[in-house]
Amino acid sequence: MAASDLFERSAPLSPDAHLVDSGGRLHLLVPNGNRLYDVDAATHAELERVLGRGDGTAVAQLLTRLGVDAPDYVDDEPLLAPPVRALSLAVAQKCNLGCTYCYADGGSFGGRAASMQLDVALASLELLFGDVGAGERVNLTFLGGEPLLNRPVIRAATIRAREIAGERDVRVSFSITTNGTQLTEDDADFFEQHGFAVTVSLDGAGAAHDRQRPFRSGRGSYDRVIERVMPLLERQRRMQVSARVTVTPQNLGLRETLDAFVALGFHSVGFSPLLRSPAGAGELGPQELAEMLDGMVGCGEEFERRVVAGERYPFANAVNALREIHRGTHRPYPCGAGAGYLGVSATGELAACHRFVGDEEGALGNLTDGLDGERRASWLHERHVHRQEPCRSCWARYMCGGGCHHEVIARGRPACDYIRGWLHWSLGAYARLMRERPDYFAAPP
């Protein structure tokens, strides 16, 4: 289905119901609980008629008549001081690449380049493990800048986290996002030993990547990254090595990129539209978002074919969307930022997430004085999707959660049509795959 069709069909008519045609079957999504139903043609026609009138009371009455009304799954109450179970450490606020669009503004977040000292990393572990109970899980992520420019702190913090986890019977998982240029064979062994989720930023195969992610000298980084990543791809068992593609107007050939990285052996490949960069460079406009949606659907259609054929095709956006739709996940926030997840800057400042390092908007205290409970409560209150516009009137609000806080605060919500179009397509794909390959959804997540 073309992007223009998807935009039209996914337009928000009601916050309480949305209709999907999966090709031969008709479906009703009830956003309250993100419940998906198969409906017959008569029911669909009746729903379509009532939705078209824009009469909220009539929609509610019809949903009651269908027996799908329910108490609110998500209420207006913000999360109250949820326990912190994931931290990202900005171990190196500096970078050896000069990417055209970097949200961290060259790695230093608009400030001075800095490296995290080990005592800051260890103090972070005290926060992460502070109130965790036996049997619980925590996650520790290393980010930058380019985190591998501060390898000793990554190694030491990982080993210490493992020790604490062993002492307290806590399960700890590790992640790192890297530009890949600094990876070594020894890193491959270390990440495999500790079961890291390694995300490598790769914006295309060859020239497309080189245009957006050059070394500071201007030379392309693609060949170097691939050479350095190959040992990890070969060694991954416990470790999972994924590619993350930032999509700008310069690299909209998604299918080509996806297939190239799947062929290289990445555990998964995911795409994110560039919606905000410090100087506005590379941000996608409406026309390019339509083109990107066409690309996403092209990848998604191939994903459907492969799943039906019983083949592995790790297109992360589709895998994640279908898993969430299957579960009916419904969330009042887009992510765990400021809730269960916090970012720690090189100097020990706490931020709502890794993107808010050095940004007063998302500042939430520091390691010395602790988490600023008042600011955090205010953040969770303000960021609740029920307080966002135009989210409150959108059927997709509990899937999307209102969009990345960092992008929304800086640029608003320019990509709602794109997000809804993708989710609308994903709902149809889910319904089709539930018919053809229900076993796909039985596989462990």
Binding site: R35, L36, D38, A70, A442
Partner: protein, 234 residues
């Protein structure tokens, strides 16, 4: 008009034709113990293939295939013990049975579908016996995928079984919850006589050592309700 639930949240919200709204978990006034709509404990009775357990205790009610188990108590399913240590100055090595549903939650999560070595008491008071039994999955498996759906398996809860013990819901709650459930209308310590340096009275917590049977039959005598300012039994 027909409408069929597709994803998991829709399945969980499914209301069978003719059932009242209170049959949905979010509308029901109930908890893990007997509530006003159903008695959740009944699902445990046939959790282990080949034997039938009491709904509220690890007591083997019948075991046609394993005669030596009848009348015994279940002590452990694989690694999961039904007992926990409860130490006090008077009883440094004390043990007690865990609350039944909590004791079995991990078994369902870890062992559903598996053949597991189960430990029971034996006629010899110092001995135990171990029998391998299969743990039934709690939820119906999808025929297409062999993965769990959101529906409780009918083998575990046949029609009517989830509600059959509702003739005496509060007696069940009383035994299960000891002093932690009842509100202020049931103080733990009554008929208190204050004396110099100590107080004497009746501790209702002791009632929980009664069996269900005793409480069902003799609740007026056992609980000694206060009626008109006087103990009901007087």
């Amino acid at each position: 008009m027909t409408i069929e639930p597709t994803n998991l949240t829709a399945q969980l919200h499914y209301r069978a034709a003719g059932n009242p709204p209170s049959t949905l978990p979010d509308a029901a006034v109930s908890n893990a113990f007997p509530g006003l709509e159903f008695d959740f404990r009944n699902i445990w009775r046939r959790l282990l293939e080949g034997i039938e357990l009491h709904e509220a205790r690890g007591f083997v009610v019948s075991a046609p295939d394993h005669p030596s188990l009848a009348g015994q108590f279940l002590l452990a399913v694989g690694e999961h013990s039904m007992l926990m240590d409860v130490r006090s100055p008077g009883e440094p090595d004390g043990q007690t049975f865990m609350e039944w549903s909590n004791a079995l939650a991990d078994v369902v999560a870890d062992n559903a579908g598996q053949l597991v070595a189960c430990t029971f008491t034996a006629d010899d008071p110092d001995g135990t016996q171990v029998v391998e039994l299969r743990v039934r999955p709690l939820f119906v498996l999808s025929e297409a995928t062999q993965s769990p759906t959101a529906l409780i398996d009918e083998i575990l809860a046949q029609p009517g079984e989830l509600t059959q013990s509702l003739c005496s819901p509060w007696q069940n709650d009383y035994v299960e919850c000891a002093c932690y459930y009842w509100a202020a209308s049931r103080p733990d310590f009554v008929n208190v006589q204050a004396t110099a340096g100590a107080s004497a009275g009746e501790e209702w917590l002791e009632v929980t050592s009664e069996t269900y049977e005793q409480l069902f039959r003799g609740w007026q005598r056992t609980l000694r309700f206060i009626v008109g300012g006087r103990d009901g039994g007087q």
